[in-house]
């Protein structure tokens, strides 16, 4: 028995590896801030997450790590946008886009440009969004992992500009790119924009079909904001197609989701839509 135990210990000792040297203190602090920020995001504590990402960004700048600077700047921009702080989101991204001294990886610059386009689009700055999306598109050259997202941003810009046919074409292209990369989130985004564009073009059955596909994906992804958007659009499309029953059903579902996520504005809009004859 003792021999077996000794042999087992010997075998296990072969699996052990010497502990690597402890990382420098600044690196540890950076990693810790990033981990804490990610935990706060998971917990839905966006304000706390922004603080930790800000701290991580500061540490990354202090140790002159371009990759960490870009990563935390982009994350900070995302969280700031969630908090409705568009100015902070832009400021965070400028530490990558306006930084002439650091040499950032192309992928990070592309991500920052795409994020900036999204921030501008959300702020209804169509020309700014188009310019940043174009820069990101040129850097991506149509073959990067963000090709679908860039096309979706461009499709959304076209939709906002009432260029519905162009929006449908771009969204269709985005959907194909996203599907080829199995990117479900961007596939659903593309289908949603495609549905809206078709609805605007009066192609109601096609719009409903695209929106239903988007809803199916978004339900799998379990993102209430997107589910709400899909249901709202489906209600509008069904109403436009003359199917009042389906429109009311989608509307009721959207209303339930709005109430569940405490979206007062969404509740008011949907109630008004449901009351409309």
């Amino acid at each position: 028995m003792k021999r077996i135990l000794a042999a087992a210990v010997l075998i296990l000792s072969g699996c052990a590896s010497p502990p690597p040297p402890a990382p420098p203190v600044s690196q540890s602090r950076l990693a810790e801030a990033e981990v804490r920020a990610a935990a706060m995001v998971r917990a839905g504590e966006h304000a706390a997450a922004a603080r930790y990402y800000d701290e991580a960004l500061r540490i990354a700048v202090s140790i002159e790590s371009p990759d960490a600077i870009a990563e935390n700047a982009i994350n900070l921009s995302i969280v700031s946008q969630w908090l409705g702080r568009d100015a902070d989101a832009r400021t965070a991204l400028s530490s990558v886009l306006d930084n002439r001294r650091a040499v950032f990886p192309q992928r990070r610059i592309l991500q920052a440009e795409l994020r900036r386009a999204i921030v501008e689009l959300a702020a209804r700055n169509a020309s700014g969004a188009a310019a940043w999306a174009q820069r990101a598109g040129e850097r991506c050259a149509g073959s990067c992992e963000y090709a679908a997202a860039i096309l979706n941003v461009q499709a959304q810009i076209a939709l906002d500009a009432r260029e519905h046919a162009q929006a449908a074409r771009l969204a269709q292209s985005a959907a194909e790119r996203a599907r080829s990369r199995s990117d479900r989130a961007e596939t659903a985004n593309a289908l949603r924009i495609l549905g809206r564009a078709r609805l605007a073009l009066g192609e109601y059955p096609g719009a409903i079909d695209a929106l239903k596909q988007a809803l199916d994906i978004d339900r799998e992804l379990a993102d209430p904001r997107k589910i709400l958007a899909d249901l709202t659009d489906l209600s509008r499309a069904s109403r436009a197609a003359g199917n009042r029953l389906a429109a009311d059903e989608y509307g009721e579902r959207a209303l339930a989701v709005s109430r569940a996520v405490h979206d007062a504005r969404g509740v008011a809009e949907m109630e008004a839509q449901l009351r409309r004859p």
Binding site: P20, V35, Q81
Partner: protein
């Protein structure tokens, strides 16, 4: 004329004996073949169903097919099809009624991840109409140990991350605890001085109380004299002053008792803190050592893999954020 040759006695009825031997041998052979055929299920009516698998690794012809752990058939044929391998299962017809449409075939091993491979039929929950001959069922390929470990890692990942967070918090809070313990130790070191000061204070209070007593006695005496002098003029005052003096004496007694109690309490507190000091020192050492052990464990296989930072810590860039407002 030649004499007739008589066969030897030992070979009498030889043909009969040979025929009997051959008959018995044939009977035994037939019985053996019958037994084999019975074992192979040749006398049982069987129905064929099939499934398609992209990879037939581990599946063999003759492999048992089990339903609820009972053998109900076997793999009868395997043919390469357009999109994989078409595997046919010969199922005893009497059991086919227990396999509803929508059931699933799975490759499994009898003892978990080791043991003989079998095709396990998982009936569709809720039942339904039974399968028919030649019908196709879905097949779920088995998962290897590597995939199982991978799944485990994926599932255990969030738990390890939480653990890591807790450890990180512990490490951070350890610094605070250390600082607090150091401050507490400094306070404990200063206790003798504090105690000395307290004793001086108590001594001073004692003296003050004695002075007050003396002064009160003198005052009483003066009051008595005053009372004697004013006895006739103020009879009411003569009655009131002794009462007041009694109350003052009672108050002084109470103050003296409280001072004694305060001294006793201070001594007890000093004793308690003296006893707690080694415990606090041991706690500090234990916290420091626990931190070292956790740090070392985090760097040693197999825990090190679980504590590795994720390569990509980026939040997803979602174009949906552009249409939020």
């Amino acid at each position: 004329m030649s004499p007739t040759i008589a066969p030897p006695v030992r070979f009498s009825r030889l043909v009969l004996k040979v025929n009997a031997f051959l008959l018995v041998a044939l009977l035994l052979l037939g019985a053996f073949m019958g037994l084999v055929a019975y074992k192979q299920g040749w006398f049982v009516h069987q129905t064929t169903i099939h499934f398609l698998t992209p990879n037939a690794l581990g599946i063999n012809k003759g492999m048992p097919v089990k339903l609820y752990g009972v053998t109900v058939g076997s793999v009868s044929e395997m043919d390469i099809a357009y999109s994989g391998v078409d595997v046919r299962l010969a199922i005893m017809s009497e059991h086919l009624a227990r396999i509803p449409k929508g059931s699933q075939a799975r490759f499994a091993r009898e003892a978990g991840v080791i043991g003989a491979g079998v095709i396990n039929i998982v009936p569709k929950a809720g039942g339904g109409p039974p399968l028919e001959a030649g019908e196709r069922i879905d097949f779920e390929a088995s998962r290897g140990i590597a995939e199982m470990f991978d799944d485990f890692r994926k599932q255990a990942g969030p738990a390890f991350n939480e653990l890591k967070q807790v450890l990180s918090d512990m490490r951070r809070s350890k610094e605070d605890v250390t600082a607090a313990l150091s401050a507490l130790r400094a306070e404990i070191d200063a206790l003798p001085e504090t105690h000395k000061a307290l004793r001086q204070l108590l001594g001073t209070t004692d003296r003050a109380v004695a002075d007050v007593s003396r002064q009160a006695a003198a005052t009483l005496r003066a009051a008595e004299r005053a009372v004697e002098t004013a006895e006739r003029a103020a009879r009411g005052v003569e009655v009131a002053v002794p009462l007041l003096a009694g109350k003052l004496a009672t108050s002084l007694d109470s103050l003296d008792a409280a001072t004694g109690q305060l001294r006793k309490t201070g001594e007890e507190a000093q004793d308690t803190l003296r006893r707690a000091r080694p415990i606090l020192e041991r706690g500090e050492t234990a916290a420091r050592e626990a931190g070292d052990v956790i740090g070392a464990a985090k760097r040693v296989w197999p825990l090190s893999d679980s504590f590795k930072e994720n390569g990509e810590k980026m939040l997803p860039i979602d174009s949906f954020e552009g249409s939020r407002k």
